[in-house]
Amino acid sequence: MAILSKKDTKLITDPLADNNPITIQVLGICSALAITADLKASLVMGIAVLFVMGVGNVVISLLRNLIPSKIRIIVQLIVVASLVIVVDQFLKAYAFELSKTLSVFIGLIITNCIIMGRFEAFALANGPYRSFLDGIGNALGYAVILILVGFFRELLGAGTLFGIPVLGDPIEKTGLFSTGYENNGFMLMPPMALIIVGLIIWVQRSRNKELIED
């Protein structure tokens, strides 16, 4: 017997591909552009969103019958904000360097449209268990794109992955590598992240014709 029913599995797998929050719903773009210049930051951002969304969706789902609908946005914001502060403090304590790289963008998870979107669209109308799965699924979908973009940007822009040179030994201060590769500075700029996200969308839609809108 499978651990998850078919319907529940779809909650996790759908946002990974055919209903991806970034490439299909085009939400959460700003953080995807801002912090994907290196892979480590992308990964940590993905994990942070995973935590906030998984826990946040459960909390909102548990509170869903108590929240007056007139002030639900405020309640949602308070839940996200408290979770984000937990993540922020945790990073400051255990990964200070990284928290400096991510700077305001951890704080800005609060405004990440994916999170508020899932609270509104799913957690307010479903039980805690399914909300949890939905949160995990969407956060994973977000993280997958972030990691993909971060992978290409760091590899081609700095010749490293997780800060480790993978394209030969770098020659100091020149951006050149012993293998002859040369850093592509454009990759480290936000416009290139947008172009890479665009290319991912292009590949995804040409593989699955159902996603093409007229």
Binding site: T174, E182, N184, G185, F186, G198
Partner: protein, 404 residues
């Protein structure tokens, strides 16, 4: 059987197959196709289809290319002489149009042209075959423009990467020739500039071999005029040199004189818009004059980092830094420029105006021209929209007056 007949047979052989567009493209490149649209009725046969249009632009560019090849050699030997402290008298026949100079041009500039065309057309052919449409002519001009606007020492692999990026992201994703919002040649240049800034600026890249020789006893360099001005240095080139183009710079953009000859070909054949060309120069002159006045009124003094460029006489701005090349061959691109006559004036004026502004205020972007043109490419449809709307409003008013 004639060459044309052979091409026609090839085309017939591959009709309806996936590879058909590739053969159609070769066939119609030089010859009119044999078939007519339908048996009866009237046929209009005109010589100025898109391929001829593109070919004329290439003809207009050829003087710049040839000059660029000689100039590549001339700058090389001049830099070596300067490094060795030799001063030789300059004569056009004796020291410029020499076989030695041409040889450097052949080994350095021709590969740029070949790589640009080879890679660009390969991408075009692949897209034509995948999408099943005819190969579009757009790359003919882009392929010639690209080698002319890059420094002579640009590595060939770098050029290929940039061409693939420029053609795919700058053009094909929008739907190919005629649908692009940005000039593909400038997209390629912008990619190179932002991706590999060390190869696109500084005082080494403009002269053949200067990068290789850095740090050795034979080191040579050639700073562009804008580069020198930005550092508040005097330049040794006379106005005549600047106008004729015997100065370091990107391959084919140094000679304002030959660019103007190209411009006259474009204007005579009505392919380039004289409104855009003229208004770019007017806009640049206006901004140059404003800066000159700022210096004249002592608002900026010699201690300022902007002094060198602001103090440049306004007409000198028109002959340096690729402004003329941008005005004549880039801004006039019919796809990305404004379409309405009034819009063309505004579009061109702002290109010139912004070029000089970027050039002066940000010495890190000495080639403000390409940034200004790309920016105005984005705004061209907006300008057209308001020009058309303004015209509609005007005529509506006239209509009301008559009917009232």
């Amino acid at each position: 059987m004639s060459f044309k007949g052979n091409l026609h047979n090839l085309k017939e052989k591959y009709r309806g197959t996936k590879m058909a567009p590739a053969f159609n493209a070769i066939h119609t490149f030089l010859y009119l196709p044999n078939e007519v649209t339908h048996a009866g009725g009237t046929h209009i046969k005109a010589a100025d289809d898109l391929k001829r249009t593109m070919n004329i632009v290439i003809v207009a560019l050829l003087p710049c290319l040839l000059f660029g090849m000689f100039n590549a050699g001339y700058q090389y030997y001049a830099a070596i002489d300067a490094a060795n402290g030799i001063t030789s008298e300059f004569t056009i026949l004796g020291s410029f149009l020499t076989l030695d100079n041409l040889w450097i041009g052949i080994i350095k500039v021709l590969p740029l042209v070949i790589v640009s065309y080879g890679v660009g057309l390969l991408v075009e052919f692949i897209f034509a075959v995948i999408k099943g449409h005819e190969v579009e002519e757009g790359y003919l001009v882009t392929g010639m423009l690209v080698p002319l606007i890059v420094p002579v020492d640009t590595p060939l692999w770098m050029l290929s990467v940039a061409v693939v990026f420029g053609v795919v992201i700058g053009k094909e994703v929008f739907g190919g020739t005629g649908m692009n919002i940005l000039n593909p040649a400038l997209t390629i240049r912008a990619f190179l500039f932002f991706a590999y800034p060390t190869w696109m600026s500084g005082d080494k890249v403009w002269v053949y071999d200067a990068v290789e020789r850095t740090g050795t006893a034979d080191a040579i360099s050639g700073e562009t005029i804008l580069g020198s001005y930005a550092q508040n240095q005097e330049v040794a080139y006379s106005t005549f040199d600047k106008f004729m183009g015997f100065i370091p710079g990107s391959v084919g953009e140094t000679s304002t004189f030959l660019i103007l000859i190209g411009a006259s070909i474009l204007i005579f054949t009505k392919i380039g818009s004289w409104r855009i060309i003229l208004s770019v120069f007017v806009g640049a002159a206006a901004m140059g004059l404003i800066f000159n006045q700022i210096v004249a009124f002592d608002i900026i003094t010699e201690t300022s980092k902007f002094y060198g460029l602001m103090n440049t006489v306004w007409w000198e701005h028109l002959t340096i830094g690729g402004l003329a090349f941008g005005a004549v061959f880039m801004a006039t691109d019919p796809v990305t420029g404004s379409q309405t006559n009034k819009g063309k004036w505004i579009y061109g004026f702002l290109i010139g105006f912004l070029s000089i502004m970027i050039r002066v205020f940000n010495p890190a972007y000495p080639e403000g021209v390409f940034l200004a043109i790309l920016l105005m490419n984005v705004f061209a449809p907006t300008i057209d929209h308001y020009v058309v709307k303004g015209n509609v409003t005007k005529r509506m008013k006239r209509l009301k007056v008559k009917t009232a």
